[in-house]
C-alpha cells in the first residue's frame, strides 16, 4: 500500500490549507451535536402533534372520492386535512425545483416555472408512494398512522409507465398532459430547446473526421441516502409561523412558505441547525411537506412534527439518463466533432431534470469542450411513474461524465493512442490554450499514482491471476466544480465579523452545516485574515444555527463553493476591521491612522515598530464597544477558466462469478487553493462511498408489474460499508488559480463525478468487453463475457 502523500501548498499560510481537526470535531465525536429530530423531542414541545401523510399504493392513480370521517373520530386525532379541503386545494401548483440553491427565488422566478407539476397533497398520484389525499395530525405517530388506515379512498387506478422510451412512444399513459402532452418536457427558458447546444456544424465535423466512434452509457436512479431523514416541526401561532427543519436553505424555505401560504416574509421564521448529510437531497426547502405540516399546525394551534421514515426518505434521486455519444477525429487525435443525445427519466415530477440534462452539459460545453469546433447536444426529459429526481451531489455532471469518459476511452483505443494523450490534446477551457495546465497536472499525477504505465494493457490482454481474476486500470476526468465567476448569480455574499474587547471573535458567516467542512474553512479564513490580532481559530466562534429572523442570509451549500466564497468576503471585511482599530488607536497614540499598523495583537507606529499598545488596550482605554464589520460582496466575475478533476481506478474482475472488486482509487482535485486540507481529503475519500455505490451496488429496483419500488431500505439498497471500500489515495493539487485572495474552487461534488466511468473503463481494460450501464453487477459482467 502507498504511504500517504500530503500536498504541498503553493503559498504557505498559517491556517488556510492546513491539516487539522474540524472546528466541530469534538462536539460531534462526543455526540453533543443536535439535529432537528433531537431538537424537536416531545419533551421540548409538550403540546406537539405528529403528522403522517397518505401515500399512493399505485404507480399512477387518481382519487375519486375520499372519506376521512372515521379517522377524524379516532381518539387522539386532532386534525385531518384532505385534498378536498379548500385550504389545501386552493394552493398554487408548484415544483420542488424552485432554485438550484444558488439564489433565493420567488414563485414567479422559480427556475423550472414551465414545469409546475406538483400539487400539495393533490388527488393525482404519479408514482407509488407519492404523498397524496390526506394528512393527519395526532398525539403520536402510531395514532396518525392508524388514522390514515381508517380513511376510505376510492382510487381510479391509471395505466403507468416506468421506461422513458416507452413513455415517449404512442399510446403511453400521459402523466401531466397540461405540461407535456407526450410526456416529453417542452423547451423552457433555462434549459433551452431540444437541441440545446449547436456549435459550429457537427455534421460537417463528422464528414471531415477520419475516425468516428459511437457509444452508449446508462446512468440509473441512485439516491442521496443522507442518514438524517427529512424532518420538520412547524409551529403556527396567531399570525406567525416558525419552522425547525433540516432543509439546507433557510432563506429559500422562508420564501417558499411565505409565497405559497401568502404570509409576509417576516412572519415566517425558519431555523436550521446541523444537518446529517445533504448531498443535494430535495434541494431547496420547496418540498410540499412544509406546507401541509404548516396547515395542520394552523388548524390545531399546536406545533406539528413531520418526519420521514427511512423508507419515505427514498424521496429524491439522481436523474437516470440514457446517453449516446458520437465523436469524430483526425488520425492524429484532433477531435473534429462531438454529438451527445440524452433521454432522461424525470420520474413523476420534472423538478431539476433539465438542470441535469441541459443546464449542466451546457456549462461543460462552455469550458471543457471550448476547443472542439463542432458540438451538438440534444436532450429529452421524459415523465414516467418513477421516483422523481431533484439534485444529487454532482447533478448532471455524473451522468454526462459516464458518456464523456466513455467516448474518450473508446476513441483513444480506435486511434491507438493513450487516452491521457488524447484528453490533453483536446480539452481545456475557453480562456486558455492546449494542453491545459490543470488537466495535464491531474492526469499526469494520476498516471503516476495508479501506476498507469505498468498496469495498463490492451483490453482484456493483461495477466490472469488465480486462473480467473483479471485486472485493469482506467480513468475519467471532468472540469472541476465552480470557480468564483460561476457563482455570480448568488448576488451578495454577506458576513459579519465582531471583534470583542478581549480580541475574541464572532464570525457570522451563515450556512447550514451539512458536514462539508465549510464551517472550518470559514474559521480558518477568518483566523488568517485577522492574523494581525495575534489570534487563532480557537479564538473564533462560528454560530452554527441559521435563523432567518436573526442571521444574515445563509450562503447555500451548493456548487461545493461555500468553502471559499465566504472566506473571500471575510478577507476583505478584515481589512475594514483593521482600519477601524487603527482609527480607534490613533487617538491614544497621538498619530494618524495611516502612520500606524497592527501585528501580533499590537498597534504600533510604522516608523518605530517596538513601541505601541496592545489591541486589547485600545478597547480598554476606549468605549469597550466591539468592532463590528458587516460586508456584502458579489462573487468576483473575472473569467479565470476552470481547473480539472480526475479519478483513476484499478479493478479486479472475477471472470467466473462476474464480481468486480475495486482495488484502488486515486482521486485528484486541482483546488486552486486548498482551503482546509483534512476537510478536502475527507471529501475526496468520502465521495467514493457514493461514487462506488453508483458504480457497483446502489440501484432502486421496481416491480415491473405494479411499478412499486422494492428496495427503499438500506438492506436491499446497498451502500458500501467500511469493509467494502478499497484503498483511496487523495491527491490535492494547486495548479489553476481563480480570482481573489485565495482563488479556490469547490471540490466536494467533483470527487465522485468521475468514479463510475473510471471504474467502467478499468473493467473494460481488465476483461476487454464493455458494460454500458451501471451499476456493474456480477450478472452484467457474466452476460458481457458470454457466460450468462
Amino acid at each position: 500500500m502507498t504511504p500517504p502523500r500530503p500536498y504541498t501548498p503553493r503559498v504557505a499560510r498559517k491556517f488556510i490549507g492546513t491539516y487539522r481537526p474540524r472546528i466541530d470535531a469534538l462536539e460531534k465525536a462526543a455526540g453533543k451535536v443536535q439535529f432537528v429530530d433531537d431538537i424537536t423531542l416531545k419533551s421540548r414541545f409538550p403540546g406537539m402533534l405528529y403528522a403522517r401523510v397518505m401515500r399512493s399504493p399505485y404507480a399512477h392513480a387518481r382519487i375519486k372520492s375520499i372519506d376521512a370521517s372515521l379517522a377524524e373520530r379516532l381518539p387522539g386525532v386532532k386534525a385531518v386535512l384532505t385534498c378536498k379541503d379548500p385550504e389545501v386545494s386552493s394552493l398554487k401548483p408548484t415544483s420542488a425545483g424552485w432554485t438550484d440553491g444558488v439564489d433565493t427565488v420567488s414563485y414567479e422566478r422559480m427556475m423550472w416555472r414551465h414545469y409546475r407539476d406538483r400539487r400539495v397533497l393533490g388527488d393525482h398520484a404519479c408514482w407509488a408512494t407519492d404523498e397524496v389525499g390526506a394528512v393527519v395530525a395526532a398525539e403520536s405517530e402510531q395514532l396518525a398512522e392508524d388514522a390514515l388506515s381508517l380513511i376510505k379512498v376510492e382510487w381510479e387506478v391509471l395505466p403507468f409507465v416506468l421506461d422513458p422510451i416507452a413513455a415517449m412512444g404512442p399510446g403511453a399513459p400521459v402523466i401531466h398532459p397540461g405540461i407535456a402532452p407526450r410526456n416529453i418536457l417542452p423547451k423552457d427558458t433555462v434549459g433551452g430547446k431540444d437541441v440545446f447546444v449547436d456549435k459550429g456544424d457537427a455534421d460537417k465535423g463528422f464528414a471531415e473526421a477520419e475516425v468516428v466512434i459511437e457509444a452508449t452509457s446508462v446512468h440509473h436512479n441512485a439516491t442521496q441516502a443522507s442518514l438524517d431523514n427529512w424532518c420538520c416541526l412547524v409551529d403556527w401561532k396567531r399570525d406567525k409561523l416558525t419552522v425547525l427543519s433540516n432543509s439546507y436553505e433557510a432563506d429559500q424555505t422562508r420564501m417558499h412558505i411565505s409565497q405559497m401560504l401568502n404570509l409576509p416574509i417576516n412572519k415566517v421564521r425558519v431555523i436550521s441547525s446541523y444537518v446529517g448529510g445533504q448531498f443535494g437531497r430535495g434541494d431547496t426547502g420547496d418540498q410540499p411537506f412544509f406546507l401541509f405540516t404548516a396547515l395542520l399546525s394552523k388548524k390545531t394551534g399546536r406545533p406539528v412534527k413531520f418526519r420521514h421514515s427511512r423508507r419515505e426518505s427514498f424521496h429524491d434521486s439522481r436523474q437516470p439518463a440514457i446517453y449516446t455519444g458520437k465523436v469524430g477525429a483526425k488520425k492524429d487525435g484532433t477531435i473534429t466533432s462531438m454529438y451527445f443525445k440524452s433521454i432522461g427519466n424525470s420520474g413523476a415530477y420534472a423538478d431539476h431534470t433539465m438542470f441535469a440534462l441541459k443546464f449542466a452539459p451546457t456549462e461543460i460545453t462552455e469550458v471543457a469542450l471550448a476547443h472542439i469546433p463542432n458540438v451538438r447536444m440534444e436532450s429529452y426529459g421524459v415523465y414516467t411513474n418513477k421516483l422523481p429526481a431533484c439534485m444529487m451531489r454532482g447533478v448532471g455532471n455524473s451522468q454526462f461524465n459516464l458518456i464523456f469518459g466513455h467516448v474518450v476511452d473508446m476513441l483513444a483505443e480506435k486511434l491507438g493512442l493513450d487516452p491521457i494523450d488524447l484528453a490533453l490534446k483536446n480539452f481545456g477551457h475557453e480562456w486558455g490554450g492546449l494542453p491545459d495546465r490543470s488537466l495535464t497536472a491531474v492526469l499526469r499525477e494520476g498516471e503516476k499514482r495508479i501506476g498507469w504505465r505498468a498496469k495498463r494493457h490492451k483490453p482484456g490482454a493483461g495477466p490472469v491471476f488465480d486462473r480467473v481474476m483479471k485486472r485493469g486500470v482506467g480513468f475519467s476526468f471532468h472540469p472541476a466544480w465552480h470557480a468564483e465567476w460561476q457563482e455570480a448569480r448568488r448576488g451578495e455574499i454577506r458576513v459579519r465579523i465582531t471583534v470583542n474587547p478581549d480580541c475574541s471573535v464572532v464570525l457570522d458567516a451563515p450556512t447550514v452545516e451539512t458536514g462539508t467542512g465549510s464551517n472550518t474553512c470559514n474559521v480558518l479564513g477568518c483566523a488568517e485574515a485577522l492574523g494581525f490580532l495575534g489570534i487563532g481559530p480557537g479564538d473564533i466562534v462560528w454560530p452554527h444555527t441559521v435563523d432567518t429572523e436573526t442571521s444574515l442570509k445563509d450562503c447555500v451549500q451548493t456548487d461545493s463553493a461555500v468553502s471559499y466564497l465566504q472566506s473571500e468576503v471575510v478577507a476583505r471585511a478584515a481589512l475594514v476591521v483593521k482600519q477601524r482599530l487603527l482609527e480607534k488607536a490613533a487617538g491614544f497614540l497621538k498619530a494618524r491612522p495611516e502612520d500606524l499598523d497592527i501585528a501580533d495583537g499590537r498597534v504600533y507606529r510604522k516608523a518605530a515598530r517596538a513601541k505601541g499598545i496592545t489591541v486589547r488596550d485600545v478597547f480598554r482605554l476606549g468605549d469597550m464597544l466591539p468592532v463590528v464589520v458587516e460586508m456584502g460582496r458579489p462573487p468576483n466575475a473575472e473569467k479565470t477558466g476552470v481547473p480539472y478533476i480526475a479519478n483513476f481506478a484499478e479493478v479486479e474482475v472475477d471472470t467466473s462469478t462476474g464480481r468486480v472488486q475495486v482495488l484502488k482509487l486515486v482521486v485528484l482535485n486541482d483546488c486552486g487553493t486548498v482551503m482546509y486540507a483534512s476537510g478536502a481529503e475527507a471529501q475526496q475519500i468520502g465521495g467514493q462511498v457514493m461514487g462506488l455505490g453508483e458504480a457497483l451496488t446502489e440501484e432502486i429496483i421496481y416491480d415491473e408489474a405494479t411499478g412499486v419500488p422494492l428496495n427503499f431500505n438500506w438492506i436491499d439498497y446497498k451502500i458500501a460499508t467500511m469493509a467494502d471500500m478499497p484503498e483511496i489515495d487523495p491527491a490535492l493539487l494547486e495548479v489553476w488559480r481563480g480570482a481573489g485572495e485565495y482563488g479556490a474552487c469547490g471540490i466536494g461534488e467533483g470527487t465522485l463525478t468521475c468514479t463510475p466511468r473510471a471504474v467502467l473503463n478499468a473493467v473494460y481494460n481488465a476483461i476487454g468487453v464493455r458494460i454500458d450501464d451501471i451499476p456493474v453487477k456480477p450478472e452484467k459482467v457474466l452476460k458481457a463475457l458470454g457466460k450468462a
Partner: protein, 194 residues
C-alpha cells in the same frame, strides 16, 4: 392501544422494568412508561432524552443507534426496551469527553485519511460500535476494525479516517494483557494504510 395495555398492566400488576442507563437505574412502569413493542432506541431518545444515538433506518441496517449493553455493542432499534431489563446500557452521553475513542475521532486529521467525521450524524453510533469492538479486542488490526465496524454506514464516507481513529484509540487505551505477538502485529499494521 396504549390505553389497553395500561389497563392490562394494572390488572396484572406487572413489576417495573429496571434498566441501568449511564450508571443510573431507571424504573419504567409497564403500560405507562414502557410498552411491549417499544424499542430501546425509542425509550432512550424519546423517554430519557439521550439523543446522541440516532434512528436513521430503524431496522438494523445502519448502526447509527448503536449503544453498549453490558459492554457489548447492540443496535438499540433492534432491541425491545423490555429486553434491557436488568441490564446496563451505556449511551455516548455516558462516556467522558476525554474517552480515548471520542478523542481519537475528534483529533483524526492525519494526511491521507481525511477526518473521522463530517456531518457527525453516524458518529455516535460509530463511537459506540468502536467501544464495543475494543472491549472485545483491545488491539484490533485495521482488517479487524473494518470487519468489526462494517455494520455501520457513514454516508459522508469517512471510513478511512474512522479506521485510523479506532487504531489510534486502541493505542491510547490501557491494555494490560497485551502480548508481544499482538504488539508486533500492531506495529506492522501501523505503517500500512487503512
Amino acid at each position: 392501544m396504549a390505553i389497553k395495555s395500561e389497563k392490562q398492566a394494572r390488572a396484572e400488576k406487572k413489576p417495573p422494568v429496571k434498566i441501568k442507563v449511564n450508571g443510573r437505574w431507571h424504573e419504567f412502569e409497564p403500560g405507562r412508561d414502557i410498552e411491549p413493542e417499544m424499542t430501546l432506541s425509542y425509550l432512550l431518545r424519546e423517554k430519557l432524552g439521550y439523543t446522541g444515538l440516532k434512528v436513521a433506518c430503524d431496522e438494523g441496517a445502519c448502526g447509527a443507534c448503536t449503544v453498549l449493553m453490558d459492554g457489548k455493542a447492540v443496535l438499540s432499534c433492534m432491541k425491545l426496551a423490555v429486553e434491557a431489563h436488568g441490564h446496563e446500557v451505556l449511551t455516548i452521553e455516558g462516556l467522558p469527553e476525554d474517552d480515548p475513542v471520542i478523542q481519537a475521532f475528534a483529533k483524526q486529521c492525519e494526511p491521507g485519511y481525511g477526518t473521522a467525521l463530517q456531518c457527525g450524524f453516524c458518529t455516535p453510533g460509530f463511537v459506540m460500535a468502536a467501544k464495543g469492538l475494543l472491549n472485545e479486542n483491545p488491539r484490533p488490526t485495521t482488517g479487524e476494525i473494518k470487519e468489526g465496524l462494517s455494520g455501520n454506514i457513514c454516508r459522508c464516507g469517512c471510513y478511512s479516517g474512522i479506521a485510523r481513529a479506532v487504531l489510534h484509540a486502541s493505542h491510547f487505551s490501557p491494555c494490560p494483557g497485551q502480548s508481544a505477538r499482538q504488539a508486533s502485529r500492531e506495529s506492522a499494521q501501523k505503517g500500512g494504510k487503512q
